[in-house]
Symmetry: C2
Subunit: 390 residues, 2 copies
């Protein structure tokens, strides 16, 4: 191993995340370091809570960011709400739904699985049928399945959960800040996300929100929660008015997260959703005009994470390697059942831009040509630009 | 709440951590963002592993940084090594030893407590007596107790553990990079630290190292580990040669950690220990010459975290508030049994400097004068400077 520091290339990040970040977020990363109990840092945490309530569309008092990546947010929700013997309805139609299921299993919860096809959302009818045979304490769902590019419609399942008194844990990792999340309207009891996708910050923090009912449930546990680090009642003592030391909150990452949230506030959530949608539509228009196919049918496509089918005979790994080597462009490969079958193209946060759409189409077209798969780039770019003009 | 961003003051950080960071570490925080599977980022992780092996003085293959604060490192060690019914000997003489005990309790381990006086280390004789009545799977110890400023001598206890076949989990949060840690010589099975103290980086990452024996023990568990996020076998699949996606490693924090570790490498570990020791000796000389008292007897004092007794009649909170308001100087208050009784003054990493020693003595003297407690600052500064010249 060389003794010098490795070279850090300047990538164009268009995978499942992290994405590139706004210069103001970069600048915030170099804010002076603050102690975790410094009044100035506690004020930053309060501002983060306030803005996260805005993006989650919730009044939940307990709304802040756990000190870890999105997966720490997932674990915070699952471990606080589930204990041995709890009945949980796990809706799985992709890699991350399954990760939640694995976590629930580790809590020794009693799991009923609704396993759906990769590339489609969970059918509310199956949820209804299961709930009638219930009861269930918790339903776990993925709003935006990062492994497949599928959006889970929430209204119907939210009503069903309410009618049957089941709590909902929702993964909003690839939606929060880019697609509407309505935590209160949907009656979510626990939801989590990450900092590095539509929020537009580097990774390392996980926005979470807990309803009062979820907190009551955590307080009434029969078995103490195994995790000390992710115990929501201990986190609340730090985030809330008691300010009891729990962990050394990273003022650096928190300053960056707050700046990213202020950028969201300035843009306006509705404008931001519209921007994500328009750039997604342009990408799809270009992809389809170039003779390629999306992996998900139009009504369930995520505007934030686009899954493009790898054409027959094209080497997935070679194409991604070429894009990285020649263009410093990162896109994601498929996970699990979609391995080798799709490319995952992220248009999230600061990275959801017309520039990125056009750059990606051009670079991909070139990569495919080298693989012997010819596309009409001009037609693709024209279609994308028409969609951008619409 | 104001809609604008809160002001972030430029503090002089001399508490228990975080501390101020070197300009090169600041610069590294703004390295281009990289994906968690980018070959360039994986190379950064390898470099981090290599340098952490240097600071831990270990050959352990599984040595890297967990994606969270120091407490995530503690939980990674405790939850992976302990399962229900495991016998653990918990040595507690401060707040952090007790935090480990709490975590072991949540794993439903069978705990034997060696509770020691705050301000003193654990007596090896008590450990020997307990081990003879054993067996124990694990001994938990704190090398540098951040709540009291006490250094735990390790040689004798390490020999005892070896003789009795017990594993050791060691907290090196306030020692790693500032005081010698000899993971292999002491036969540590799991040790953890944090990024924001003697390592000299912002908080958010927790260096950990696991022996082969510890990994074997994790593989042979009867009860699966509850945590998915901190499962060392899953972390190893990402850190190691398999490169299986586990979490979205923060390239930003990792770049900063690597830069901090390169600074350690350039300075040399032995020089770094000597610098920490000299600045500590200067601080103690100044404190004592000013008529104040240290809380720990000389043979057990940490060079990194100095506990100074709050003089009778002096208002702890007022003094710390004055230092923060007037001098932007953060020092720590006491925790637990030491609440209101000591100040905790950190001299760690980049913040362990002659400048900080002299500044602190001057500011403290002024604060004490306003509290009606007069000190002879000139004598204090002379004593500190003589120690610096020695």
């Amino acid at each position: 191993m060389a003794s010098n520091r490795p070279e850090v290339p300047l990538r164009k990040l268009m995978g499942p995340g992290p994405l590139n970040i706004h210069p103001r977020v970069f600048q915030a990363l170099t804010s002076p370091v603050l102690g975790h109990l410094d009044p100035a840092h506690l004020e930053v945490l309060d501002h983060i809570g306030e803005r996260l309530r805005m993006v989650f569309k919730t009044q939940n008092r307990i709304t802040n960011a756990t000190p870890g990546t999105g997966t720490s947010g997932m674990e915070t929700c699952v471990t606080n709400l589930l204990e041995p013997g709890d009945r949980v309805l796990a809706c799985v139609h992709g890699y991350f739904g399954d990760r939640i299921r694995q976590m629930a299993e580790r809590q020794e919860a009693e799991i009923t699985l609704i396993e759906g096809e990769w590339g489609k959302p969970t059918d509310p009818e199956r949820v209804e049928k299961a709930l009638k045979e219930g009861p269930y304490k918790v339903i776990t769902l993925v709003h935006a399945e990062t492994s497949t590019g599928v959006l889970q419609p929430m209204d119907e399942i939210a009503s069903l959960a309410k009618a049957h008194g089941a709590m909902i844990i929702l993964d909003t990792v690839t939606s929060l800040g880019g697609i509407e999340v309505k935590a209160d309207d949907w009656g979510l009891d626990a939801a989590y996300s990450c900092s590095q996708k539509c929020i537009g910050c580097p990774s390392g923090l996980a926005p979470v929100t807990f309803s009062d009912r979820a907190i009551e449930s955590a307080k009434k546990r029969k078995h103490p929660i195994r995790s000390w680090y992710l115990d929501i009642l201990l986190l609340d003592k730090y985030w809330g008015s008691e300010r009891v030391y729990h962990h050394t909150s990273s003022s650096t990452l928190c300053a960056a997260l707050l700046e990213a949230l202020l950028l969201i506030e300035e843009e306006g959530l509705e404008n931001r959703y519209a921007r994500h949608l328009k750039n997604h539509q342009a990408l799809v228009a270009g992809i389809e005009a170039m003779g390629l196919k999306m992996a998900v049918s139009p009504e369930y496509r995520l505007p934030t994470l686009n899954t493009v089918q790898v054409p027959k005979g094209v080497d997935d790994v070679k194409v991604r390697g070429y894009l990285l080597q020649k263009f410093n462009l990162e896109i994601g490969g498929g996970l699990g059942a979609f391995k080798g079958k799709v490319w995952r193209v992220g248009l999230m946060g600061y990275s959801s831009s017309a520039e990125n759409v056009l750059f990606f189409l051009s670079a991909l077209s070139r990569a495919l040509t080298l693989e012997g798969f010819n596309t009409d780039l001009k037609t693709g770019l024209d279609a994308a630009m028409s969609a951008l003009d619409a």
